[in-house]
Every structure is written in structure tokens, then in C-alpha cells.
Amino acid sequence: MDKMLRDRKTILFLLTPSLLLYTLLQIFPIGSAVYYSFFEWDIISTQKFIGLGNYIRMFTEDELFWLCVKNMLFLTIVGLVLQQMTGFILAVILTGKIAAKNVFRNVFFMPAVISSAAVGLMWSFIYQPEIGLLNQIISFLGFEDLTHAWLVEKETVMWAIAFVASWQFIGYSMVLFIAAILNISQDVFEAAELDGAVSWKLVRYIIFPLVKPIFKVNSILIVIGSLKFFDLIYVMTGGGPANASQVLASYIYTRSFTQFEYGYGNALSVILLIMCLLFTFISNKLSKDTNE
């Protein structure tokens, strides 16, 4: 069996179906997107070749594009900070001496399993200005003037969305941290306790340094995930109010399917692809540098 699996021909043969599928579903559409990004096309008329026209327009005339990039960076940074911090704190607590640890771990992980569209819908109701839960709680606690139309005011909308995004995926960060903490051998803990370390000192001097690699892994995951965000935004605000919460993915959708500028939409997709590749490359480099 082993020998068979090492034989080159067998490997090729077994890989071919997946390779074919991958080419068909990934490489081919990417290639076609790059091709069509040089045209102006509304899919009913004939295509018009305009060379780099779409890209020039994107970088010089389209301020919505820069707003999208700004929003994406915002989501990424807030996600990085919120998810990692909360995930780490939760992981530390849930590897300590608490009853029903497993139950809590499952509960905190559950949002990651729910579909983003469902999460978005649920939080739309919570954020609803008149009857939503959030404003009700704030009023109940007596802070009536702190209520907002969270998803409609452009000052609050990105924070509201970033919070939901983090809420959904805290589970992932937490689980990774838990695994890392559990990996720390008990000897280290015993030695530390012998030296008189109190619990928060344990966290700061023992746990934190030893799970640093996980911060890097999480960062890569969060960054890539944040760049590709679509469903949450589309469901909660549709990119509104007045395009204040657009990100590249939802902007591509609007331009292509609502305004029938497929050529431009393709150009935007190509840029999104390049951004994701760039960030992956940078993240990989950064983590390789400081790994053993």
C-alpha cells in the first residue's frame, strides 16, 4: 500500500480529479475575471475593450473604492484586537479551575458554526433602533441618550458590524488558544507555583509568551477572513447607509449585479485577489521570521 502511494503515476492519478475541479472552479474563473477586467461589459451588449480603463477609474475617480479599502482595514484591525484579546482571556479562564468548562467552550464556539447570514439577520434585529434588544437594554439601564440607530448612522455602523464579526469568530481564536495552553506541560506550571507565582503572574509570564505563536496564526486567519467579508455586511446593511459600510466584496456585488458594470466588477475582484495574496504573503513572512 505504501509503495503504491509513493509511485508517481498513482499520485498523479489520484490527484487529477481534485486538480481538475480546482482548475475549473478556481483557476478558470480567476483567469476569466482578469480577462474581462479589461473590458466594459453589461452582459447584454457586446464587450468593449478598454485596456486599463477600469483600473485607472478605480484608483483615480472612484472614491467609493478607497472607502471600501478603509472599511476593510478597519474591520481587520478591530477584528485582530477584539478577537485575539477576548479569545485569549476566555481561553485562560476556561483552562482554569471552572466547572462545566466543556459546556462553556462549546457555547462560545457556537456562533462560528451558525451561517453568517443568520448571524447578520439576528444582530440586525438586536440593533433595531425602536424595538431592538440593545437599545432596550441601554434605556432600561437609564442611558437613554446613548441609544443610536446603530446600523443607520455612519458613525456607528462600522463599529456595529466589526463587533458582530468578532463575536461570530471569537470561538476560533479561543479554541486555538485553549489548545496551546493545554499544550504547556504541567511541569512548567508546577515549577512556577513553586516559585510563588500568583495566577495573573502565571498568565503574564508563563502562558502569554508560550502562546505567542498562536497570536500569529490567529492574525493570519483573521486578516484573510476580514478582507473577504461579504455576507454579514450585505445582510445587515447592504453596504449602507449611503455606502458607508461598503467593503470590496459587497461593492463588487453592487457594481456588477445591480449596476451591470461587470467589467468594472471584475477589475475590482482582481484587486481584491491581489490584496488577499499580498496580505497572506506578508503574514507568512512575518511569522516565518520569528519562528524557530
Binding site: D42, I44, G238, P241, N243
Partner: protein, 440 residues
């Protein structure tokens, strides 16, 4: 649990999830509403029509009756079935099937901009020959209604109804606060101030869907600058930086700043805003006359207390209150790949027949486009009132987004939306001008 039990459990779960995933069901809008009634004989050719009305609303019901008539005809060998895709998805789905060369044989579309795009891409048939062969049919149409469907001298579609945009208001609320229907912009502002002070939303306007806000801004621009600026835009030698457009932007911001629009209007969609008006939470709404049909079909308790008025004029403006924002809002076209163009044409002709045009007015509250004897006893009261107001009309101008078609038309709507969100009108219209130059 033991190894075996676990394996069995996993297998069972996998099978169940695969089955559930497979049994998704087809919710694609491919509603087989069984509209194919061909009497006793089965016909050979089967055609599809796309419609954007909501199933069960007044217009859809009239459509179904006309379909019954058409499908019952013994001299035609074709049946027609309608598929309804209400709202935004209609555009997307229609264009997708057209691009896949799987277009429906008959479909509804806006005139002007988008119809021209279909025509230039050879996706719809010219009706020039059909009209030439049947001059009596052409005579039936009111003057000018075919203008927006005519390109290079040939007509490409058949309008079924025309819509006029007006100011609808809640008489009950106006009486309660002793208010008169505003006839000028100043009066509109004054009325809004009074209403706002009593906690009533003056104008139901939800800008989540950009075209809604554009209704008001288009009126403002026309009242301030007359028809000319936009006519020139349509011809290709106009400019979006014309003062009347920029002023219209400031008007929108002024109305928003004084609280004429609902709180959080940027996130309010069409159904939300019409609900607001129907519930008496808002006193006025600027909307097309299709709204009459929707109002009648709703369960609003204020149905009989709604009045209609011309959109106010702007003192010192070049336009006047007898210029109406109108256009043929429902136009049927025949796809160039239609299986039986002759029968499709027969279906289109049915719509212009006097008895059905009369029913358009009497039952749906939309305005007919062909000569017909509308029984004024049967039409909705609002229709009668609006009809009288429109009789004074001196001018008509069309929706900018219909006239220009995508993407420029949509860009205008989003520009207005951006202005409401705080962008400076000079900037918004400047960017629009850049896009306009790029596309010309």
C-alpha cells in the same frame, strides 16, 4: 461508545445531511403558477413571459385575466405562461437569462435607457413592421406615449400604462392641524415645520433605495431649471453641474435638516416608508401613481382620506407646477429569440384594447395609454382626482434613471443618496459629470 456504534452513527449522520442538502427544493422564482390554461386543446408552442408585479396584487390579477383570454384563443397555437419576480431581483435575473441566451419570449422593461440597450444589443424585436401593418392600432395610443419606446424611427415595445408622480397627503392629518396643501416650496417647508413640531413625520421618504430620494430631487431640479438641463443631458451635450441640479441637492439637504424626512430615513426602504404613510405616521409622500393601486390593496384605515396634489412649484423657478414627472411605467417587449413572434404580438395588442385599458384605470389605478372609455364611476377616487390634475399638464419629464439607463441612471440616484448622507452637492454632481463624460 463502542467503535462500531460510533461508525454507524457517523454514517447515518452523513447520509442524513447529504439527503437534506440535496432536497433543497426550487425556490428560484420559477413559480409554476399554472397559468397555462389552454382550454380543451393542447397547443404546440409554449412561451414564457417575465413580470415584475407581486403575485396577487391588482395589476397581476388583471395580467392573469388577459393571459386567460390569450391562452383561450383557438386561432393561435401558442400558450403563454408568466413568471413573476418582484423587486430588485427582476433586473438581475432577466439580464442573466438574456446573457445566457435563454431569454423569456415576452418581458416587461422600462422604456428609454435600458430599452435602448436591449435594442442595440439586438435582444428585442422591432415592432416597426407590426405598427406599419396595423395603423389603426397605432392610432389608439395617446400622443407622445410611444416616444420613449421609439429608437431610430421604429417602436420597440408596447406601453401598457403610464404613471404620473404626485404628492399624496393624508387629509385627516392636514385637517387636524388646520393645514392647507402646500403649493409652493416655502409652503411645503412651513407645513413640514408644523407637522414636525407635533411629532408627525412630514414626508415619508426612505432613502435606502436610492431612486426614492431621486423622485423629490428630480422634481426640485425641474421646478428650478425647467426641462432644458436634463433634455441636454439626454442629448449628450448637457452638464450635471448646471445650477438647477446643484440647487436640487441643497433642497434635499435643507428638507433633511429641518426634519421633513423620517428619523433614520437612510436605512428606510420602500415598504417601510409606504407603511409609514399608510399608518398615518407620515402626512405626505411623493410617489408615482402606481401607489394608488398599492394603497387600495393595503389595509390602511386612511384609504379614503388620502388626497393628491401637484408637486409644489418653486417661486422664481423656471419650471411650473404643471410639469409632470411621468413615464410609461410598464412596457412589454418581444425578445428577438421569441418562439412565436406573431402570437407574442397578438398578446401585446390585447393590452391596448379598450376594454383592458379601461380595466387598467378602473382596477389598478394606473393610467391608460390608449384611447378607452374609462367608466368614471368605477375608477378609484384618487385616480379621478389625479386625472383631473394631470389634464392641466403643460409638460412631461421622465425619471432620470429610466431615461439614462444603467449605469448613469443609477449613478444619479446614488449621488442624491450621497448628498443626503452629507456630501456636498457640487462634489457629488462633479463626480457624476466625470462619469457622464466617460460614458459619452
Amino acid at each position: 461508545m463502542s467503535g462500531n456504534t460510533r461508525r454507524i452513527l457517523v454514517t447515518v449522520m452523513t447520509v442524513i445531511s447529504l439527503v437534506l442538502a440535496g432536497c433543497g427544493g426550487n425556490y428560484d422564482g420559477e413559480a409554476d403558477n399554472g397559468n397555462v390554461r389552454s382550454g380543451e386543446q393542447t397547443k404546440d408552442v409554449h412561451m414564457i413571459a417575465y413580470d415584475w408585479s407581486e403575485e396577487g396584487d391588482l395589476f397581476a390579477r388583471l395580467y392573469d385575466d388577459i393571459l386567460l383570454d390569450f391562452n383561450g384563443r383557438k386561432d393561435l397555437n401558442t400558450t403563454l405562461e408568466v413568471q413573476r419576480i418582484p423587486g430588485e431581483p427582476y433586473k438581475t435575473k432577466l439580464n442573466a437569462v438574456i446573457a445566457a441566451n435563454n431569454a423569456p419570449d415576452v418581458f416587461v422593461t422600462h422604456a428609454s435607457g435600458i430599452m435602448k440597450i436591449y435594442k442595440e444589443a439586438n435582444r428585442i424585436q422591432s415592432l416597426g413592421e407590426a405598427f406599419a401593418a396595423d395603423p389603426a392600432w397605432k392610432q389608439r395610443f395617446y400622443p407622445n406615449v410611444l416616444d420613449l419606446l421609439t429608437f431610430d424611427g421604429e417602436v420597440y415595445g408596447v406601453p401598457v400604462s403610464i404613471t404620473h408622480t404626485a404628492l399624496f397627503y393624508n387629509k385627516g392629518i392636514f385637517e387636524k392641524y388646520g393645514l392647507k396643501v402646500p403649493e409652493t416650496y416655502e409652503e411645503l417647508k412651513a407645513v413640514s415645520k408644523v407637522l414636525a413640531s407635533h411629532g408627525i413625520t412630514p414626508i415619508a421618504m426612505g432613502a435606502k433605495e436610492p431612486w426614492v430620494a431621486a423622485l423629490i430631487s428630480q422634481f426640485a431640479a425641474n421646478r428650478i431649471g425647467g426641462n432644458e438641463p436634463f433634455d441636454r443631458i439626454m442629448k449628450g451635450n448637457g452638464t450635471w453641474e448646471d445650477p438647477s441640479f446643484i440647487q436640487s441637492g441643497y433642497v434635499m439637504q435643507e428638507l433633511a435638516a429641518m426634519g421633513a424626512f423620517p428619523k433614520d430615513y437612510l436605512g428606510l426602504n420602500y415598504s417601510g416608508m409606504t407603511a409609514m404613510f399608510n399608518n398615518g405616521e407620515a402626512a405626505m409622500i411623493v410617489m408615482g401613481s402606481w401607489f394608488i393601486g398599492q394603497l387600495l390593496n393595503s389595509d390602511s384605515i386612511y384609504r379614503d382620506k388620502i388626497g393628491v396634489a401637484k408637486f409644489p412649484r418653486f417661486t422664481n423657478g423656471k419650471g411650473n407646477e404643471n410639469a409632470w414627472l411621468s413615464h410609461p411605467d410598464y412596457n412589454l417587449v418581444i425578445s428577438s429569440s421569441a418562439k412565436d413572434p406573431e402570437s407574442a404580438l397578438a398578446f401585446l395588442k390585447l393590452w391596448s384594447e379598450p376594454q383592458y385599458q379601461a380595466r387598467v384605470a378602473e382596477e389598478t389605478g394606473k393610467f391608460p395609454v390608449a384611447k378607452t372609455d374609462v367608466n368614471l364611476e368605477k375608477v378609484p377616487r384618487l385616480y379621478k382626482e389625479l386625472n383631473e390634475l394631470v389634464n392641466d399638464k403643460s409638460d412631461m419629464f421622465m425619471y432620470y434613471d429610466v431615461g439614462l439607463g444603467p449605469p448613469l441612471g443609477d449613478a444619479y440616484n446614488t449621488a442624491i443618496q450621497a448628498i443626503l448622507a452629507g456630501k456636498k452637492p457640487e462634489e457629488a454632481f462633479g463626480d457624476l459629470q466625470l462619469l457622464y463624460e466617460r460614458h459619452n
